[in-house]
């Protein structure tokens, strides 16, 4: 059967071009790969190759023709001795370069269609799904009934979470700088090498990009790595593997390639380590679909959430804080204690104003609530615990009650997590607000080294108190 040679598109945006020159003439033998013509676009001259073999039976568009539309038949290839009258030549409409070829139109339309379904898809924002009366998540039953409660540091809670999950699942291992022999740069992995051995507790070279990629590759293969970054500042070396490989591969593989990995380590400001060691990345990771982002405050949440993160089949960014490692909290004993990812916790009930924060920001939030109580303002304090997916419903339920909100984070203000909280409240509960949502954040500067400047750069209890009083018009 004769085959039409169509005017090719050379880029996704090309619509027409000039047929500069035929390199074969009618009657010539052509085989696959032979260059048969040259065409010009506004950018370059390109060659047209034959894919099928046969005889160039007819040239439909002559040398030098301008504005030849993509997909116009420009020639016909036939098998030797084949009658070409059945092909495009018989149809005068097809040999007019200006008119798009009818035969070619169908595939063009199909190719253009991908934009259409997106318009019918549900909107990305979820505020509409928040009911008029939102329901707060009840965290009161998270501690197992009757469990013995012990005091434990965040550091010990994280270590126990890893140890318990490594006992439970042979596919779980931990890798990172100084995690094994040195027992952890911040002693979070203390004792793991002794219990689990060098195959499951792996010291890496100081090459974040490489070992993050190795971790993701192992996770794609079905293992469950815990990748420790000495701090999340250093994860910037690895961010391509975290975002482009870990977060996106499930989607790009049509659901085939899950990536069960935890990236964990200290995040945000410690003390006097300056800008390159003090960045809070919560907002960065929170921007990426395909990731879960967890940032616990208390030791029990650190333990319960890390265990959930290790069991989660998705990539989880687990943001810790160096200052919090040594702080003690009540933690239930036993290895069956889990805290669900994606649920906030009302840490202190109150009626007058909602203060919402996460991670070390909770110290400012709770400190402010104490101070406000002295002045007769009853603040409700919510610990988000998970940044993505964000439990905005628990926040909305509180705002519907208090009608006022202050959001607190140590990160930068622009495009910050508190900016997101404020927007989501406005979308879902605008009519409940008696004052604009206020935020207290780290200042919009790289973290300075000098003690006095560092103090100024970070949020504090006084700023939260002032913001709360402002939204209460006090």
């Amino acid at each position: 059967m004769p085959i039409d040679i169509l005017m090719p598109a050379l880029s996704p945006t090309m619509e027409e071009g000039k047929l500069a020159k035929w390199l074969k003439k009618e009657g010539d033998q052509v085989k696959a790969g032979d260059i048969i013509a040259e065409i010009e676009t506004d950018k370059a001259t390109m060659e047209v190759e034959a894919v099928d073999e046969g005889v160039l039976a007819k040239i439909l568009v002559p040398d030098g023709s301008e504005n030849v539309a993509v997909n116009t038949p420009i020639g016909i290839i036939a098998a030797e001795g084949e009658d070409v009258s059945a092909a495009a030549a018989a149809d005068p409409a097809k040999i007019n370069p200006a008119a798009p070829a009818p035969a070619a139109e169908a595939p063009r339309q199909e190719a253009a269609a991908p934009t259409a379904p997106a318009e019918e898809a549900p909107a990305a924002g979820k505020p509409a799904s928040v009911p008029a009366q939102a329901k707060a998540y009840d965290a009161s039953s998270e501690f197992p009934a009757g469990a013995e409660i012990v005091s434990m540091t965040v550091r010990e809670a994280l270590r126990d979470a890893m140890a318990e999950e490594m006992r439970r699942d042979q596919d779980v291992f931990v890798m990172g700088e100084e995690v094994a022999e040195y027992q952890g740069a911040y002693k979070v992995t203390q004792g793991l090498l002794q219990e689990f051995g060098a195959k499951r507790v792996i010291d890496t070279p100081i090459t974040e990009h490489g070992f993050a990629g190795i971790g993701v590759g192992a996770a794609l293969s079905g293992l469950k790595p815990i990748v420790e970054f000495m701090t999340f500042n250093f994860a910037m070396q690895a961010i391509d593997q975290i975002i482009n490989s870990a977060a996106k591969t499930l989607y790009m593989s049509g659901g085939q390639m899950g990536c069960p990995i935890v990236f964990r380590g200290p995040n945000g400001a410690a003390a006097r380590v300056a800008a390159q060691h003090s960045h809070d990345y919560a907002a960065w990771y929170s921007n990426v679909p395909g990731l879960k982002v967890v940032m616990p405050y208390s030791a029990s949440d650190a333990k319960g959430l890390l265990k959930s993160a290790i069991r989660d089949p998705n990539p989880v960014i687990f943001l810790e804080n160096e200052i919090m490692y040594g702080k003690s909290f009540d933690v239930p004993k036993g290895d069956d204690f889990l805290v669900p990812i994606g649920k906030a916790k009302v840490v202190r009930p109150g009626a007058d104003v909602t203060i919402v924060s996460f991670g070390i920001g909770m110290t400012h939030a709770l400190g402010a609530a104490e101070a406000l109580a002295q002045e007769g303002i009853d603040a409700e304090v919510i610990d988000l615990r998970t940044i993505r997916p964000m439990d905005i419903e628990t926040v909305i339920a509180s705002v519907q009650k208090t009608h006022r909100c202050v959001a607190v984070e140590e990160g930068f203000p622009q495009s910050g997590v508190t900016a997101e909280i404020g927007m989501r409240i406005m979308e879902a509960a605008f009519d409940y607000l008696d004052a604009p949502v206020a935020r207290v954040t780290g200042k919009d500067v790289p973290m300075p080294y000098a003690a006095n400047l560092e103090k100024l750069a970070l949020p504090n209890v006084g700023e939260v108190v002032a913001a709360a009083k402002a939204v209460c018009y006090r």
Binding site: L6, P8, A9, L10, P12, G33, I35, I36, E40, A44, T45, M46, E47, V48, E49, A50, V51, V70, N71, P107, E110, A111, P114, P117, A118, E120, A121, K199, T204, P205, T207, H209, G210, F211, A212, G213, I214, G215, V216, G217, A218, L220, S221, L223, D240, Q241, N244, S245, L250, Y251, M252, S253, G254, G255, Q256, M257, P289, G290, P313, I341
Partner: protein, 365 residues
Amino acid sequence: MAVAARQSKAPAPSKAAAKPAKARSAKEGAGQAAPAPSNVTPFTKDEDLHAYREMLLIRRFEEKAGQMYGMGLIGGFCHLYIGQEAVVIGMQMAAKEGDQVITGYRDHGHMLACGMESRGVMAELTGRRGGYSRGKGGSMHMFSREKNFFGGHGIVGAQVSLGTGLGFANWYRGDNTVSMTYFGDGAANQGQVYESFNMAELWKLPVVFVIENNRYAMGTAVNRASAQTDFSRRGVSFNIPGEQVDGMDVRAVREAGQRAIAHARSGKGPYILEMQTYRYRGHSMSDPAKYRSKDEVQRMREEHDPIEQVRARLIREFKVAEDELKAIDAKVREIVNDAAEFATHDPEPDASELYTDILLEPAQG
């Protein structure tokens, strides 16, 4: 019909820049640095027939993909493997069931070589629901857990760390499989490659690093981007053995692949194979390939074509009749045409797919 690339009337790159590339290609053409044919273990007739059919499938598939790109059925970027077929086919002939393959964005050939269906690959190229990624990945991002093909990655060099991670998992499980991690001469200059080399050798991971040196990183000739153009030596400072291979001769590829895979499988750690190959087409469909001469491409096609080499052997040494080869050609063409037909008429993904496959549901308990 498909489209390839060449000279433009737009300003040509500076002659100073273009010349060394030509000089190198003349002196160090693939095939010349490779072992003489007499040193290569010959294929049996069946092996040659297998290699012929498999390579031809890739070639015809890619020609069809180029044609469909020209028709606007394939969008975005489309990187064809034409000219490099012997690399992945030779390596697959050396591999065992269960070994993994991972590569960059020039991935169609690798998928077909892994046994993935032409229909599913072509339908992904056209962004249809029957594609391997249900239309969400496209040309550069496809996977098959069933066939141990781990992508299809769009970030140059990222697959090297990921492939090392596959090797890590093999080592961790002790399952005696090998990760075959492919990347190009361009990716070979990325930093994470050397981080991965270091850890792969340090931990003796079963990884074969296959560097497909097709002489141009996008439009930049190897000697204009690489201080060390002998890629087999790129692992020297990590004590990783390496060798240069005539990547246009499928027999040489298989033989070197067997050596490298045996090394990795036996617990001795990674191995580097520099496959000296050549891509006939531009970097992507919209590349006019002004950085090389028409003669250079023509010479490679005429003197080193991997498929023609096998075809000539089949006729000359194994006395295979032209008709038998024509029957293979026809069969391959039928598979490719069927794939194109499927990929043209398969529906696009349902709009609801926009919000699926972002996260997996955690198991309960």
